[in-house]
Amino acid sequence: MKNFLLNPQQTTAGLTPTSSLQRGVAQGWQQQIGSGPGSLADFFKTASNQAQMQGQLQNQMIGQSGPRFASATGQLQSQAALQRATDFDMFSANLANMFGQQQTAALQGAGQYDLGQQGMQAQLMQQLLAALLQGGGITQDPAFTSQPSWMSQLAGAGASIAAATKSGG
């Protein structure tokens, strides 16, 4: 709003009028400030072109190809969609090992979770392991649950029997 009051032509010049009211306002401003070369309107036109180009550039950067003056919500959704796609693509690229290990390690810092060369080693070893185990479950899709495993259930049952035997005897 502050910019509009200080420089209304610059603020509104990049807009594509979408209503008769907007067109009326724009025409009013044009009449107020003239339209010849070197006039205030010319100055504003140059400035507004720059602003428009900047806006287009911003739109390209955030992947927004629609109307320039979308709602803020729409812009946020667009940014989120771009972020989502970027994350997914980056994940996919790294899965395909397109990122260097050193680059990955550098981005992740030298904290407690650094990977070093282990990622690559693990991948190679995985192949070895799969060959060694010959389908012993590596390629299956297991699922963990919060239910006690059969082993622990067996152990629990055994303990109960032992306790019952002990107390009974």
């Binding site: 392991l129 185990l133 297991p142």
Partner: protein, 245 residues
Amino acid sequence: MTDTAHVFAVPYVHNSPEKLELIVNACCEHRPWFDDPTWRDPIQRRTATVLYLSDAARSPNRLWEVWAGANLVGLLILNKVTVHTDAHCHFIFFDHKLANKRVLCLNAMQWAFEHLDLHRLSVEIPTYARALANFARKKLGFRYEAEARTPSWPKDAKPLSTLASCLGSRRHQATLYEGQWHDVLLLSITRQEFTDLHARPTIQRTDRPDAAVTSGTTVGTTDDGVHEELPPQSSADDSGSNPYL
């Protein structure tokens, strides 16, 4: 979401940008798991998180989604795998609830021992993550590297107490968290220790309400040196008031 929701883990499948976004957002909002310089910059944080997760997912069954009913509540990660020997476990729970994840973690550990033919599993926990360290030790059976274990060398060395091993089993100032350098605790569990522990009824006993993860020091009265704290010794440096236990 209630604590009674069925908790389960499934291998991550890279097929949905929306699901990945959910996971990455949750990771980025979770407590810092990278050093300050990476964590403080939102772009670096996100990039590092994506790369870290995708690195884990390069091999099948290394990155697991944890769900409680219809809610994504965490991740299980296995990395730094040395075949037939060792792997590093990472347990990340976005709902900050550890108590209802114990059996899930044990089942995951058992799966890792069996399917990766590991001799041991390791975890590294920064000293500021006390609750997680307690959970790993008291609920899952991890020990400090030197805790109550006979070293392979020197031959005449005796196992260390919990306190001594707590002080010795760490990487010194290995992570920068909120402007301070913190040590990282080194814990592990061997396959034999896990089997012995898993076969004991005491592993069920730790579900008692008075043995909550965030509770204070629990001094064991049994011969179980894994789930319970070792009895304090008489030496001066083994006082029972150590805040790290």
